[in-house]
């Protein structure tokens, strides 16, 4: 029913939709095909895309491997939980460039592990990505655990299954979608991270199979930023266009 309340809400909502949707529309409409093609054939861009998928994948796996146990503890509850929760959510509120600074203080020169080089290294990049994306893996998985009726776990226990067996046969299968969601969110967050990576590892060297050896490039958002500073809006727009296209394809594939 088209009464005034709905019309008013729709009008206000539409303005926000324009603010969010128009940039994407103009971005696609104003691309120059020749530059896009040129960039799409550039081996620099290929390396950037490879690293932009592969690095975040490692970060997402690390986030899940350590985040799922933590999420399970959260869903069961323990003393001091609030403090630990704040710590997990910390990366969500820290400005991104500050997150990079934090990582350098914690793990960089003079930090806790003198033998580890994080500045400009692959390890540093993965650490920065894990730092910002782990909360997503933990929170999504935790939500999945919490949405499981306690009585299903009770039922498992009372019929003879230990905690391990209950996790394996009941809890984990019922939460598997949440874990996958958490992994995908963590991956997407790592793909999009710019500030922390730019501070910790602006350029990184890694083993690139097509080249058969080490190559150096930047994480995708850093690469786009660098292209913008050096080549201007049109060139960086073309790179961003390719990056968004590849991301969209990967998302469609995951779904």
């Amino acid at each position: 029913r088209g009464d005034t309340f709905v019309v008013a809400a729709a009008t206000m909502g539409s303005i926000l939709m324009v603010a969010l949707g128009l940039p994407l529309f103009m971005f696609v409409a104003r691309q120059q095909p020749s530059i896009v093609v040129e960039k799409a054939l550039s081996s620099d861009v290929h390396r950037m895309l490879y690293l932009g998928v592969y690095g975040p994948l490692l970060a997402a796996i690390v986030s899940l491997a350590f985040g799922v146990p933590l999420a399970h503890l959260f869903s069961e509850g323990f003393t001091g939980q609030q403090l630990v929760e704040s710590l997990v959510d910390l990366p969500l509120v820290v400005p991104h460039s500050v997150a990079g600074i934090l990582i350098l203080f914690g793990f960089g020169k003079g930090g806790a592990f003198p033998n580890v080089t994080v500045l400009g290294s692959m390890i540093g990049m993965i650490l920065a990505m894990t730092f910002v994306s782990a909360p997503y893996a933990v929170n999504a998985t935790r939500e999945a655990f919490e949405s499981i009726d306690d009585r299903l776990e009770y039922a498992s226990r009372i019929h003879g299954a230990s905690r391990w067996d209950t996790f394996r046969r009941v809890t984990a299968p019922l939460a598997i979608r949440g874990m996958v969601t958490g992994g995908v969110l963590a991956w997407a967050r790592a793909v999009s991270e710019f500030g922390a990576v730019a501070v910790v590892a602006y350029s990184v060297s890694f083993f690139y199979p097509p080249a058969g050896g080490e190559v150096t490039t930047q994480h995708a958002p850093v690469f786009v930023y660098g292209t913008y500073l050096q080549g201007g809006l049109a060139e960086s727009g073309a790179v961003a266009f390719i990056l968004l296209g590849v991301s969209a394809l990967i998302f469609l594939f995951i779904r």
Partner: protein, 326 residues
């Protein structure tokens, strides 16, 4: 295989105050104990605590063996949940077979399900079943591991009336020889299934005994009301006080079955309301300042003046709980 639980546990729900359960029960082998109480009286929490799902103080012993620190998987109970709690990602057969790998001597899922009248559902998934079917599967899952004691949490509460009656009959068969603790707020279910009844209120057992004792000799107005008696403060009903042979300042529980009426009798009353129930009519009379329910096959007219006859053995003095040792 007797079960004895004398436990104290405090629960703190999010946003609510803490709730304390502090109660003792004792079940002998082959006996069915029904815990009867209003919602929020702590009966479900008590049952879950006995099963080992919550930590508690005080002993829980099964066949003389203390099991306070025994995890639930070692306690040898069967548990039937009010909302079924079937594993949604497993077929009915897998649900019933769930415990088989942890127990040596389990019952065959297909045979058990057939016995309970749901043999054709073995390959279905629980979310596709009706409430009654789910509850039968849940019962089979609990029975499959041949537990020493069955714990049942209102397994009939979520069901339609006809389904409830039919499952109640099957439960009566299952519980006939089993050692069981059964939690409900329904007095008819309690009377149908209980060898002994423990009435629970505010986290405490306020009366326990045979169904006969609890229904006919309630020790408090709360128990009287909850078991369906009329609760009459004799101060408000002088004409009843003069008929019943009890001290004057007492509160009396009067079974509605013990109230008769006709053109002659002991107490003058007016018919206030008639409600048709399954078997009979529930008639509400006004006597002095109180309302008294009775049953009648033939319904009187509303507003009619009649005489009540009160049978002495249907009346029982119920002192407030403070004065009566539990």
């Amino acid at each position: 295989m007797s079960l004895h639980a004398d436990l104290t546990a405090t629960f703190t729900a999010e946003g609510a105050q803490s709730f304390r359960v502090d109660a003792e029960i004792e079940v002998e082998r082959g006996e069915s104990l029904v815990i009867l109480g209003p919602s929020g009286s702590g009966k479900t929490l008590f049952l879950e605590t006995v099963a080992g799902f919550h930590s508690h103080d005080g002993p829980v012993t099964l066949s003389g063996q203390r099991m306070d620190d025994t995890p639930p998987e070692k306690r040898d109970f069967g548990f039937v949940f009010q909302d079924y709690a079937l594993f949604p990602h497993m077929t009915v057969r897998e649900n019933v077979d769930f415990g088989s790998r942890y127990h040596d001597d389990t019952r065959d899922a297909d045979a058990l399900l057939t016995e309970l009248g749901v043999g054709e559902l073995v390959d279905r998934y629980p979310p596709t079943l009706s409430g009654g079917e789910q509850q039968r599967v849940a019962l089979a899952r609990a029975l499959a591991v041949r537990p020493e004691v069955m714990l049942l949490d209102e397994p009939l509460a979520a069901l339609d009336v006809p389904t409830r009656q039919s499952l109640r009959d099957d439960l009566a068969d299952v519980l006939a020889d089993a050692t069981a603790v059964y939690v409900t707020h329904n007095r008819t279910t309690a009377r149908a299934l209980a060898d002994r009844i423990a009435v629970m209120n505010d986290g405490q057992v306020v009366q326990s005994g045979t169904p006969e004792a609890v229904f006919h000799r309630p020790n408090s107005p709360m128990v009287a009301r909850f078991t369906g008696s009329n609760v009459i403060d004799l101060e408000d009903a002088p004409s009843i006080r003069s008929v019943l042979d009890v001290p004057g300042d007492d509160v009396v529980a009067l079974r509605p079955e013990a109230v008769g009426f006709g053109p002659e009798g002991d107490v003058r009353a007016t018919v206030e309301r008639v409600i048709r129930e399954d078997a009979t009519n529930r008639v509400t009379f006004a006597v002095d300042d109180v309302a008294i329910d009775a049953f009648a096959d033939e319904a009187p007219a509303v507003g009619e003046e009649v005489w009540l006859t009160l049978s002495d053995d249907g009346a029982h003095v119920c002192r407030p709980p403070a004065a009566s040792p539990v």
